[in-house]
Amino acid sequence: MVNTLVPLIFMSDGTHLSNFAGDKKEWPVYITIGNLSWKLRKMPTTHSVVMVAPLPIQIKHRNIVQEPLDEQRETHQEVLNEVLWRVLNPLSI
């Protein structure tokens, strides 16, 4: 029996969208496969990267004292971990 291993590569980075109605940013999560050659994977014209989930946008910290700010940051991390766990959950089966 011949086995096949397909490595999955996930990536995410802040993407600037617009300046018109306030600064709009997005944090999308992309996926690609490691079987693909690096030369092809790095080229945007090959469309070898697929967006699987835009992460929820966090609320902004404005005029918040230190203690609520720390709580807000912890909440943001929990939300981020929960979303990523749900998105990547099919791999755990």
């Binding site: 029996m1 096949t4 490595p7 590569i9 079987n35 030369k39 749900r86």
Partner: protein, 333 residues
């Protein structure tokens, strides 16, 4: 006649006529400038008798170190006749000559001990070496001792791992089997094309500018028509290209909600996010015909004899983890 020649207009005309003669050189007409003294002397190229002498008021040390540039900056636009003036001061010429000699001089050889000293005192600006590798290459070339050519890396593939996708046996495409896309893709990687040759043939036509005439001309040939009997003209090709499934296997966007979580007390609205199935996205990437020749499934190792295996860090199929995963899986089976 002499009276006329003494007038400055006639003499100026005479100078201009003499310059047209190629046998006479420039320095024969112009008196040699007096180069003695600290200030530079300006030598005009033409109409030296009709324009007044320029006062030699240039400082010895120009801010940019370029006498010509500072000279051009010094003159006003009114003196348009003097725009071709050059400086011939011996001090400036000597400084420029020494600079050229310094730039063209051979690099001093750097000893290994001296290089260690420069590394130990990295913070000092005097010992800063901008391009040490170039000097090292030059020294090696001077010695004439060429290193032996490296051994060619030998590629070793995992024996029981997945083969290349290009080795996939393509079955003929069945027009009636329109129902399940996954089944068709499992049977034929180039679905909806019959074979890989058919896919490449259509891909070549799409890349060309005159796609319509290309298909019409090529399909008229006997050999091409024999290989692709499904296409009679470009209309059939266009229909087939239009039937390529775009995002059917990629998966639709799904809206999810985090029920138990809120941002804070002031933001009570539920937290929503969109996502796709990553397994279907992976399969969509894997089944793209454009990547077929570039996909690698078998782990590989590159080694030169007794040396440890080399890794191409940009390719994941050369990693140790990929190889070891296959070994563990085989042991489990």
């Amino acid at each position: 006649m002499q009276c006329f020649c003494n007038s400055w207009r006639v003499r100026n005309l005479l100078v201009m006529v003499l310059r047209l003669n190629e046998s006479l050189k420039y320095h024969e007409l112009i008196p040699t400038p007096d180069c003695s003294g600290a200030a530079p002397t300006l030598v005009p190229f033409y109409s030296e008798y009709s324009t007044p002498r320029v006062a030699s008021t240039m400082p010895e040390m120009t801010p940019l170190g370029c006498p010509q540039f500072s000279c051009l900056k010094k003159f006003t636009p009114d003196s348009w006749r003097l725009k071709h003036i050059k400086l011939h001061h011996p001090e400036h010429l000597q400084v420029a000559y020494q600079k050229n000699l310094t730039a063209r001089s051979m690099r001093r050889p750097v000893e290994p001990a001296q290089r260690c000293q420069s590394n130990s005192t990295k913070d000092s600006v005097d010992n800063l070496d901008p391009c040490p590798n170039l000097e090292l290459v030059e020294n090696i070339a001077d010695l004439g001792a060429k290193p032996p050519p490296p051994l060619l890396p030998r590629t070793k593939s995992y024996p029981r791992a997945g083969a290349l996708v290009s080795d996939f046996i393509a079955e003929p495409w069945n027009r009636d089997a329109q129902g399940c896309l996954q089944t068709n893709l499992h049977n034929n990687l180039y679905y909806p094309f019959a074979t890989g040759e058919e896919y490449k043939y259509i891909q070549c036509g799409i890349k060309k500018k005159g796609m319509k005439t290309y298909y019409d001309n090529v399909l008229k040939e006997e050999n091409t028509g024999f290989h692709f009997p499904r296409f009679k003209n470009r209309v059939g090709v266009q229909k087939l290209v239009a039937s390529i499934p775009e995002d059917q296997a990629l998966g639709e966007w799904e809206l999810h909600t985090l029920e138990d979580m809120i941002w804070n007390d002031n933001h009570q609205r539920p937290i929503n996010y969109f996502s796709r199935d990553i397994i279907r996205s992976m399969r969509w990437l894997r089944r793209q015909q454009a990547y077929t020749e570039h996909l690698m499934y078998a782990p590989q190792r590159f080694s030169n004899g007794n040396t440890p295996p080399k890794h191409s860090y940009t390719e994941m199929h050369t990693a140790d983890s990929c190889w070891e995963t296959h070994v563990r899986r085989d042991c489990r089976v």
